[in-house]
């Protein structure tokens, strides 16, 4: 039987746990370095913004804010699918500035009473911080010869697509697919719907966000991915793009809408937030966006990035009567009611 003293047995795990605790608590211990608490900006953004914000925009703004004589500022940020971010903001995360991938998410925030209706429209460019067209990513060398959305309707092409229920990018992609059919000659709503239906027949995977769809594609799943040009351009710039980009003849320029959540801003932070919002449209910030693969609303700045491909007929959401209309007509009525029903019926 165990004549071992009972105390000894727990010694090693106890030491182990104590060491862990010491490590975990180190930064907060009184004798470790003092952490000053500078003013913070709580920024929520949709998924593809993570790198440009953390590596480009935030440091640049911090430098500028300091240069203007205000001292340090800290960013607290969170990035996820645009729909997820919207839900979090509605549920009350302390987000102060939110960059959404589509305006209809901003409208949802307004509907929930989180922000004032149309408040983003009073910002520069109607709240649109930057743009990026939707393109098709294909496997290196483009083995299937995919050039346009019409090629995606061919049988046997396997498409990875983000889920329109949670992803803003997916909504853009749907409008892009529809528009490329509708704006062709001969076009019209019927051609748009046919294109949409054709593409969705070949969708083999739906990821919760544009970023997750990209990860799936990178892991070798599917033949084609409909995604933001920004991702492709940015990754190619870093030598990390393991795919070819196909520029469709006609595609949509997605517009990314900024909202300011006033109820999460304390009066003393007001000036800082306003300065930051204003900064986002400055030439300096816009150049950073272009550098990271986003297209600026100021067309002249876009020349700075040679990686941008040429699009014969870029269109905007306004061409379909704005997001409210487009969502009702294209996403809800055509995609959800007809295309998905057909799909399910098959």
């Amino acid at each position: 039987m165990d004549s071992v003293r009972p105390r000894r047995r727990g010694l090693v795990p106890a030491l182990f746990l104590a060491a862990l605790l010491l490590y975990a608590a180190w930064p907060w211990l009184p004798f470790s370095r003092e952490v000053a608490t500078p003013p913070t900006i709580v920024f929520y953004g949709f998924s593809i913004l993570a790198d440009v914000c953390q590596e480009g925009i935030f440091p640049a703004f911090q430098k500028m804010w300091a240069a203007e004589g205000h001292g340090p500022v800290e960013f607290v940020s969170s990035f996820g699918g645009s729909g997820t971010v919207t839900n979090q903001v509605i549920l009350g995360v302390p987000a102060q500035v939110v960059l959404l991938s589509l305006e209809s998410d901003a409208e949802r925030l307004a509907d929930a009473g989180t922000i004032a209706r149309d408040s983003w429209k009073r910002l520069p460019q109607g709240g649109v911080v930057n743009l990026t067209p939707f393109v098709i990513l294909v496997r290196p060398g483009n083995p299937l010869g995919i050039r346009d959305f019409s090629d995606l309707t061919r049988p046997g092409v396997r498409i990875v697509h983000p889920d329109p229920m949670t992803s803003g990018g997916a909504n853009w992609a749907i409008v892009a697919e529809y528009g490329s059919g509708a704006r062709a000659t001969p076009g019209g709503p019927a051609a748009g719907e046919a294109m949409l239906a054709g593409v969705w027949t070949n969708v083999v995977a739906q990821a919760p966000s544009a970023r997750a769809a990209r990860t799936q594609f990178e892991n070798g799943f599917g033949d084609a991915l409909i995604t933001y040009e920004q991702e492709a351009v940015y990754d190619r710039g870093r030598g990390r793009l393991d795919a070819d980009v196909a520029y469709p003849q006609r595609t949509i320029l997605s517009e990314h809408t900024l909202v300011v959540v006033d109820r999460n801003i304390r009066p003393r932070e007001r000036k800082l937030i306003e300065r930051f919002v204003q900064y986002l449209w400055s030439d300096e910030a816009q150049r950073i966006f272009v550098k990271f693969g986003f297209r600026s609303a100021t067309e002249s700045l876009n020349a700075a990035n040679p990686a941008f491909g040429r699009i014969f007929d870029p269109f905007r959401i306004a061409d379909f009567g704005g997001w409210r209309e487009a969502r009702r007509e294209i996403v809800d009525r055509i995609w959800k009611q007809r295309v998905m029903k057909q799909d399910a019926g098959r």
Binding site: L21, P27, S78, G80, G92, R211
Partner: protein
Amino acid sequence: MSATALKAARRRGGRAALPVGIVLLVLLPLILMPLAAIFVFAFRGGAADFVKVLASPEAQFSLRFSLLIAFATAAINAVLGTFTAYVLSRYRFRGERPLGILVNLPVAIPTVVVGTSLLLLWGPIGLLGRLLEPLGIQPMFAPAGVLLAHLFVTFPYMLGAVKPVLDEIEGTYEEAAYTIGANRWQTFRWVILPALRGGLFSGVLLTFAHSLGEFGATVLVSGNLRLRTQTAPLYIFAQFEAGNVAAANAVAAVLATLSFFIFFFLLRYTVRRGR
């Protein structure tokens, strides 16, 4: 042990090759290889890369934050779970059975549901949160919220580890201490607690390990704020989402190693205690 018994034991050992082989064969793709994959991908960029990725403030923060939350969860649940187990085991009252079932439910409820219900209760627009907000108290999207979620999710593990041990201690055990002259506290400290030590220890380690790995509820209630409320699993997920598989796997490897040690101690302790 007699000679024949020894022989029999060895023979049993010899025959074990087949079942052990089958188990390994099944476990290899199911558990062992995925575990190995974590480490393979973590070190794909070399050890230097691994260290660099781990040294990033965000990775460091998420690990430390996760550990602190795990410590706090384990400590609070040790007290709370022991007390609850004591009450459930020692007192007979109306509704005791339903309560005993209810406190075990968090195990069966999807953690996402836990997160949602916590938000709906404590969130700024939640039932209780609405009342707290004017007071400037906002438990959700803050470390307190993460702690709440973890307490909820891991509570049954503590209870499950302690209560059976308590149930096994007959009531006269305490009464013996009382008649000898020990007051309630002395009885608990010197008679009950030492007898509970094994259960308490495994409960704490289980709670700790579960807290380290908790994702579903945390992602909802934390607000996933970098350097504020991002736990290690959230960091891993965020990095994975962003395509930084190396960073994700580096932290995952650390978590896996920690868990290994925790369960190693757990097993060693409980097996040694086994009669």
